[in-house]
C-alpha cells in the first residue's frame, strides 16, 4: 500500500512538473527538434534508433505529423533520403544514433556532397559532459563529417537548438544544395527550453548568402557570344535539376529559341527531354559519339549547372580546344576549377536562364542560320555512326536489349529510375529516356555501389503511386540488399531490375581493356538465387535467361503490386561502349570491341581512375 501511494504521488508529481513546464511554454530538446521539422514541412524521416537518440524516438512516438521509415542499416537511410530528395526537390531528413550510427552515414554524406543533394542528417551524440571521454558509442561526428558535409553543427545548449535546426535546413537547400549534419547530445535532447516559433520574416543568414542573380554584364557577354556562335553546344548538368523544375523548363525554352544542340552530364539527364531532336545524348567517358565530338569541335560552349568533372572532360589539354566557354554555376568555386572559361556567370540556373532569355529577346539575337545548318549536317554524320548499336543474338540477353525493352515497355508511365554503379548504370544512362527532371536517381560524383535500392525506396516513399525501378548490377545490389526488408515492412513496391553478369562488370571491362584480361577478384561466385531472395523478403522473384523472355518478365514486373526482383541474366562479357579511355581526349573514342587495341592507354592515363 505504501508503495502504491508512493508511486501515485510520484506520478502526480511528474504530471504537475509536466504541466508546469507546459504552462511556462517549455519543451524538451527532442520536442523542439520535431517542432522545427514540422516548421520545415518535413513529412518523412529515414532513420535507425539507438541509445543516444532515444529521447527523439520517444517524442516521435507521441506525435503523428512526421512519419519515420525504419531502414536496416544507417547507410540505407541516407541513400533513401537522397532518393527522396532528388525525386521530389525537397530536403531529405535522416535520423541516426551516435558512434556507429553516425559513421555509417559518412559514405552517404559524401555522396550527397558530391552530387549536391539537400540533406539534413540528425545524429545522436553522447551527453555533453561525456564528449571527449571515449564514451560508449562516442565518435567525433562533427570532426569526421566536416570534410564530407556542406556544414555541420554540434548543439551544446538547448537554447540554441531551434536556431541551429532552422539554420541547417536553410544551408542544406540554399545555393548549391548539400548535406548538413546536426549533432545532438542526449542531454540537450532531454533539457527543457522555451520554444519560440520562427520570426514571420526571417532575416538574411549572417554569413551564407549565395548569389542567385548574375551580373548584367556577364549576361550581355554570354548572349553576345551565344548569338555569334558557328558551332555551338549546350552542356547541361545536375545543377539545372537542383535549381528546380522551372530551370528545366527555361533550359528547354532557351535551347529551343537558339536551335543549338545540347548534351547532358550523367547527373543532368532529364533536365532536357531526351527525345527532342536537339538532344545529342550524354557526353563523357561513356557518352555518345555525337555528343563528345560536338564538344571537341564546338566554338562556343554553354555549360549550365555542370562542373567539368574528369569523367566529362577526359584529357584536359584537349578538352574543346577551339571553344570559347560560358559557365553558369551558383558555386563560384566551380568556375575555373578544372577548365578555364571565358565568361563565368555566377547565379542560380533558373534565374540566369531567365535573364539570358530576356536579354536574347531584347537584342533580337539571331543565330547564324547558315553556319548552324552546316554544324547540324556535321552532327548528323556523327549520329549516323549509331554509336550505341550492339549485336543481338537469340541465345544471350544483351544488357542494351534488356534496357531498350524496359524503356519501351515503361514509356509514358509515371516512372522513376534509380541505378547502382557500374556498367549497368552507364547502359541505363545511354538507353533510358527522360522527359522530365527528377526522374533519374544515380550516384554520379562519388559512384557509390549500393545506392540504387535505398534510393528507390526513398523515391517510392515520396511517390507511393508511381513506378520506381532500380536498374541494378548484382554486385552493387548485394552491398545494401538488407533494405529489401525495409521495402517489405512499408509495402513499398520497388522493382529491382538486375542486369546480372556475375561480374563486377566495369572492373572486369577495365581489366580486359587495360590489364591484359587478368580478372583479379572481379568474378563473384556463389551469388544468391535472386528469385528466392525476393520471396524471402516477401516479394516476387522473376528471371529471364533468353532474349525471348525479357518482355514477359518486364511486363510481369510492372504488373506486380509488391516488391519485385527481376534477375536478367545478361552476356557476362559484354563491354560498355562508346568509351573514352582514361587520359584520352573526346576525339579518341573506342566505339566497339574492334577499336580495342587501336590506341593504347598512355602512362598518365593509367594512373587516372
Amino acid at each position: 500500500m505504501a508503495l502504491r501511494v508512493f508511486l501515485w504521488a510520484r506520478s502526480l508529481a511528474r504530471w504537475c512538473k509536466g504541466t508546469r513546464a507546459m504552462a511556462k511554454g517549455k519543451l524538451s530538446g527532442a520536442e523542439i527538434v520535431l517542432k522545427v521539422l514540422e516548421e520545415e514541412k518535413t513529412e518523412i524521416l529515414f532513420g535507425y534508433p539507438g541509445g543516444a537518440v532515444l529521447p527523439l524516438y520517444d517524442a516521435l512516438f507521441q506525435q503523428k505529423a512526421i512519419r519515420h521509415i525504419l531502414v536496416r542499416q544507417e547507410g540505407g537511410a541516407i541513400h533513401a533520403a537522397e532518393g527522396y530528395a532528388r525525386s521530389s526537390n525537397r530536403v531529405g531528413v535522416v535520423l541516426v544514433t551516435s558512434g556507429p550510427g553516425a559513421t555509417n552515414v559518412v559514405t552517404g554524406l559524401t555522396d550527397a556532397l558530391m552530387d549536391s543533394v539537400p540533406i539534413v542528417c540528425l545524429t545522436g551524440q553522447v551527453p555533453t559532459h561525456l564528449i571527449g571521454n571515449d564514451a560508449f558509442q562516442e565518435a567525433d561526428t562533427t570532426g569526421i563529417t566536416r570534410p564530407c558535409t556542406k556544414h555541420n553543427y554540434l548543439v551544446k545548449d538547448v537554447d540554441d537548438l531551434a536556431r541551429v535546426m532552422r539554420d541547417a535546413f536553410y544551408v542544406a537547400r540554399t545555393g548549391r544544395p548539400g548535406p548538413v549534419v546536426v549533432d545532438l547530445p542526449k542531454d540537450v535532447l532531454q533539457a527543457m527550453a522555451r520554444y519560440t516559433p520562427p520570426p514571420a520574416k526571417s532575416g538574411a543568414h549572417l554569413s551564407y548568402r549565395p548569389r542567385m542573380r548574375a551580373d548584367a554584364d556577364a549576361i550581355n557577354r554570354a548572349v553576345e557570344l551565344i548569338a555569334g556562335a558557328k558551332r555551338p553546344i549546350f552542356y547541361s548538368g545536375g545543377g539545372v535539376i537542383n535549381s528546380g523544375p522551372k530551370a528545366s523548363k527555361l533550359l528547354a525554352k532557351f535551347v529551343g529559341k537558339t536551335g543549338y544542340p545540347i548534351t547532358s552530364t550523367l547527373m543532368g539527364l532529364g533536365a532536357y527531354p531526351s527525345r527532342n531532336k536537339q538532344f545529342l545524348g550524354m557526353l563523357g567517358m561513356h557518352g555518345t559519339f555525337e555528343a563528345n565530338l560536338s564538344m571537341y569541335n564546338c566554338d562556343v560552349m554553354v555549360a549550365v549547372g555542370a562542373r567539368f568533372d574528369d569523367r566529362v572532360t577526359g584529357k584536359l589539354s584537349e578538352f574543346a580546344p577551339k571553344a570559347k566557354k560560358i559557365h553558369i554555376d551558383i558555386d563560384p568555386s566551380s568556375i575555373n576549377k578544372n577548365v578555364m572559361v571565358e565568361v563565368p556567370v555566377i547565379g542560380d540556373c533558373a534565374t540566369v536562364l531567365g535573364q539570358l532569355i530576356k536579354r536574347w529577346g531584347e537584342v533580337k539575337a539571331k543565330p547564324d542560320a547558315k553556319a548552324l545548318n552546316k554544324w547540324w549536317a556535321q552532327i548528323a554524320k556523327w549520329r549516323a555512326r549509331k554509336c550505341l548499336s550492339y549485336e543481338m543474338n537469340d541465345d544471350v540477353i544483351k544488357p542494351q536489349y534488356a534496357l531498350e525493352r524496359l524503356q519501351a515497355l515503361t514509356r509514358g508511365m509515371d516512372v522513376y529510375f534509380s541505378t547502382e554503379v557500374g556498367q549497368h548504370q552507364m547502359w541505363a544512362a545511354q538507353f533510358l529516356q527522360f522527359d522530365k527532371p527528377n526522374r533519374w536517381l544515380t550516384s554520379g560524383g562519388l559512384g557509390t555501389m549500393g545506392y540504387g535500392l535505398p534510393a528507390a525506396i526513398g523515391a517510392q516513399v515520396a511517390h507511393p503511386k508511381s513506378l520506381v525501378i532500380d536498374v541494378a548490377g548484382e554486385a552493387s545490389l548485394l552491398m545494401n540488399m538488407q533494405e529489401f526488408s525495409t521495402a517489405a515492412q512499408y509495402r513499398l513496391p520497388v522493382k529491382v531490375f538486375i542486369l546480372n553478369n556475375q561480374y563486377m562488370g566495369m572492373v572486369r571491362q577495365w581489366q580486359e581493356l587495360l590489364y591484359g584480361g587478368r580478372y583479379a577478384e572481379s568474378y563473384m561466385a556463389s551469388l544468391p538465387d535472386f528469385v528466392k531472395l525476393a520471396e524471402t523478403f516477401h516479394g516476387t522473384g522473376l528471371i529471364a535467361k533468353k532474349p525471348s523472355e525479357v518482355d514477359d518478365v518486364i511486363k510481369e514486373m510492372i504488373r506486380t503490386d509488391d516488391m519485385v526482383i527481376a534477375d536478367i541474366r545478361i552476356d557476362p562479357l559484354e563491354n560498355c561502349f562508346p568509351m573514352i579511355p582514361s587520359g584520352a581526349a573526346h576525339c579518341d573514342m573506342l566505339l566497339g570491341p574492334a577499336d580495342k587495341a587501336a590506341t593504347p592507354v598512355s602512362e598518365e592515363g593509367m594512373v587516372l581512375v
Binding site: T142, R146, P147, S207, Y208, S333
Partner: protein, 184 residues
C-alpha cells in the same frame, strides 16, 4: 616559416617564381564559432593547398568575429580556387586577398631566447638595440627579446643571434591589413 617582404605597392612585395607560383596574403573574416579554424585548415589540407603560415584571433567579441590571416602560395588559378573555396564555407563572412587588392602592411612578432655570458651577451644586447628589439625577460645567463617587423627583419635578427647563443624562437606568423582608409 613565413617569408613575406615588407609591405610595398602592389606587385613588388610578393615574389612570383619562374614556374608561375605566387605568394598571397589572404585575410578571412569568420564567425567565431567552434571548429571554424578546423574548417579552414581542413580545406587547405584536404585540397592540397599550401599554408606557409596562419594565425587567428578574435577581433570583435561583440559581433563574435575572428580574423584569420593566411599566407599561401600557388598558381593564379589555385589562388582563385582557394579564395572561392574559403568564401563557400558557411561561417566565413569575407575573404580578402591583400596581395591582389593593393598596398598593405604585414607584420610579425617574435620572442627570441639567447643564452650566454660575457662578450656574447653584451653583443646580443647591442644588436637587439639596432633592431629595436626589447628585452622582456632577463636572467644572469639569458635574455628573451621581443621583436616586431617584417618577417625578413626577424629572419635577419635570428641569424645574427645564432652564434651568440640562440636557444629558442617563437613567431606569430604574419598579420596584415590593407593600407588606406578602407576596412576589409
Amino acid at each position: 616559416m613565413c617569408r613575406v617582404r615588407e609591405a610595398a605597392p602592389r606587385g613588388k612585395d610578393d615574389q612570383v617564381s619562374e614556374d608561375g607560383i605566387e605568394r598571397h596574403i589572404i585575410a578571412v573574416l569568420v564567425e567565431n564559432e567552434a571548429g571554424v579554424l578546423a574548417r579552414v585548415v581542413g580545406l587547405f589540407s584536404g585540397r592540397g593547398y599550401n599554408i606557409e603560415c596562419l594565425n587567428v584571433a578574435e577581433i570583435d567579441p561583440e559581433a563574435g568575429q575572428s580574423r584569420i590571416t593566411v599566407v599561401t602560395s600557388g598558381t593564379p588559378q589555385i589562388i582563385e580556387q582557394i579564395k572561392a573555396q574559403l568564401t563557400r564555407l558557411v561561417p566565413v563572412h569575407k575573404v580578402s586577398d591583400l596581395t591582389q587588392e593593393g598596398p598593405h602592411v604585414g607584420r610579425e612578432l617574435a620572442l627570441i631566447k639567447v643564452r650566454g655570458r660575457g662578450e656574447k651577451r653584451v653583443e646580443s644586447l647591442r644588436i637587439a638595440d639596432i633592431f629595436r628589439a626589447g628585452v622582456v625577460d632577463s636572467t644572469s645567463r639569458s635574455f628573451v627579446f621581443e621583436i616586431t617587423g617584417a618577417p625578413e627583419k626577424i629572419d635577419a635578427f635570428i641569424q645574427l643571434m645564432a652564434p651568440l647563443g640562440l636557444v629558442d624562437v617563437s613567431r606569430t606568423g604574419v598579420v596584415a591589413i590593407a593600407r588606406g582608409e578602407k576596412p576589409i
